[in-house]
């Protein structure tokens, strides 16, 4: 039983890395994804096409391919960053496409009348987006964004495959020493479930608080 005590330190540290990856890529992807949605619904065709291409690219290419490309290949072209920031950037770019789709599903809930009203009041498109459409879309998309955040948290595990020492890779290393696969992997799985549960509950609470009653 004392291997619990000896392994607590490395596991806690690795969990910290997992949380760091999830939180920074989470915040980044929500900001970037919202911007992509704004571009997607803008009257500027070039921005609309660019946003569409962005989403299509990241939704259709495997995250692991992107991670391998960024970590092992891009340094050849002089794009060299430390491992963890690279993983955060790739995760952010990848999940932003899913956030963008979630926010866009929220845009559809904004009522026509309110938009027409804001136009009738002389709001510019930028103002309409900023004060009316985007806030309402984000509030309507809390649940789907929460789901993207849960997926993101699980996807941080892929960083293990390119050498980031996060929870999954720490569990694996621990298993190689302790040879207690069922125990260790189940424990790691439980930690992920707790993280997912926490995100899910937070999203649920936020939604209850911010839901727009129509």
């Amino acid at each position: 039983m004392d291997f619990f005590a000896s392994s607590a330190g490395p596991i806690a540290q690795a969990l910290g890395t997992t949380i760091l990856l999830a939180v920074s890529a989470g915040v980044g992807s929500i900001v970037l994804g919202t911007l992509v949605t704004a571009a997607r619904i803008s009257p500027v065709p070039v921005l609309r096409w660019a946003a569409f291409a962005y989403v299509q690219f990241f939704v259709n290419v495997p995250l692991l391919v992107l991670l391998v490309l960024a970590v092992f290949a891009l340094p050849d072209a002089g794009f060299l960053l430390p491992l963890t920031p690279t993983a955060i950037i790739v995760l952010t770019l990848y999940e932003a496409a899913y956030v963008a789709e979630a926010v866009r599903s929220g845009v559809n809930t904004v009522s026509r009348g309110e938009i027409e009203a804001s136009r009738a009041l002389g709001f510019s498109l930028g103002q309409t987006l900023r004060v009316l459409v985007i806030p309402q879309s984000l509030r309507a998309a809390i649940q789907p964004i929460g789901n993207v955040m849960i997926a993101l948290t699980m996807n941080t595990a892929l960083a293990a495959a390119v050498g980031v020492v996060e929870l999954t890779s720490a569990a694996n290393k621990l298993n190689l020493v302790e040879a207690q696969p069922i125990l260790i992997f189940t424990a790691a799985g439980l930690i992920y479930m707790v993280l997912a549960l926490a995100i899910g509950l937070t999203a649920g609470r936020l939604e209850k608080k911010l839901r727009i009653r129509r």
């Binding site: 009257p43 070039v46 599903s105 136009r119 993101l152 069922i182 790691a188």
Partner: protein, 288 residues
């Protein structure tokens, strides 16, 4: 107008001019970024023709083609097993027998919140110690099936929930058993309704097969890795792998979009009202 909302009027001359200016500005910025990246690539010699010309050689494509076959094989197996298991789980979760519904719900919730990579590591490093050693294909397919079955189950359940209740009631009133109603009335309609989401899930599943890279299963990314360590053309090889995935999944995504727009597609209940978490729009890609 591509926007579903009338966010803006038919532009007048002034607005048209402003849109044009913004178009030019954003095009310049985007193309500028691409150009900067290309300059960077070129300065490291990554755009030299001798680094790209090898990809005209048929041998490289044959080599990657074997990987592509592996990818498709793993995806097909996962799709079939995942769909069947997902169907059973969906029916189980909807079952009125408490304990069946409880077990299926627990399975789905657990499988949705555990990283596939963790399951793969368990298959790869854990189970062999217990004397359970599967062939490498199954070390990939089993974890993917476990995870994707939960996703399929939720999609199918959303379809069933979106069906008007009257359909079931009508079937029962005609003297059909519950199983007959499910098989002949509910599922055929529900599956048609969620067909686009099922195709979108295929995209996600196909992407997941790239995890074969970790178990050393001969799929596209793994082959790309082996190839690049042989020819040293890292960026070029992985760009080619990316493009293949893009073409493959882009095709599937396009199919999903076409299915979504299929004429005569009746809208059942508003999906947003009934869909379980994660399925706000039937066709939105749900990453898992």
């Amino acid at each position: 107008m591509t926007s579903p909302l009338s966010l803006y009027d038919e532009p007048g001359p002034r607005t048209r001019r402003r849109i044009l200016i913004w178009s030019i500005v954003s095009a310049v910025v985007i193309l500028g970024l691409i150009a900067l990246a290309l300059v960077q690539f070129a300065s490291k010699g990554q755009l030299d023709s001798d680094r790209w010309l090898p990809f005209l050689d048929i041998a490289i494509w044959e080599y990657l083609g074997v990987g592509l076959l592996g990818t498709l094989q793993a995806a097909a197996l996962t799709a079939v097993f995942g769909f069947v298991l997902g169907l059973l789980l969906a029916l189980g979760r909807l079952s009125r027998v408490r304990w069946i519904s409880w077990i299926c719900t627990a399975y789905i919730e657990i499988a949705r919140t555990v990283p596939v990579l963790l399951l793969i590591y368990l298959m790869l490093f854990g189970l062999p110690q217990l004397g359970l050693n599967f062939p490498v294909l199954w070390k990939l397919v089993i974890p993917l099936t476990i995870a994707n079955a939960a996703a399929f189950a939720e999609i199918i359940r959303a379809g069933v929930l979106a069906l008007p209740r009257g359909q079931t009631e009508a079937g029962l009133s005609l003297g059909m058993t519950r199983w007959q109603v499910d098989r002949k009335v509910v599922l055929p309609q529900a599956l048609r309704f969620v067909a686009p989401s099922l195709v979108v899930q295929l995209v996600s599943l196909l992407k997941d097969t790239s995890l074969g890279y970790i178990v050393a299963f001969t799929e596209l990314l793994y082959r790309g890795q082996v190839l690049s360590s042989f020819n040293g053309l890292l960026i070029q090889t992985f760009v080619v792998v990316t493009v293949i995935f893009l073409a493959l999944n882009g095709g599937l995504s396009g199919l999903a979009a076409r299915l979504q727009k299929r004429p005569g597609r009746r809208s059942l209940a508003t999906p947003a009202e009934v869909a379980p978490a994660g399925l706000t729009t039937p066709n939105a890609p749900v990453d898992r």
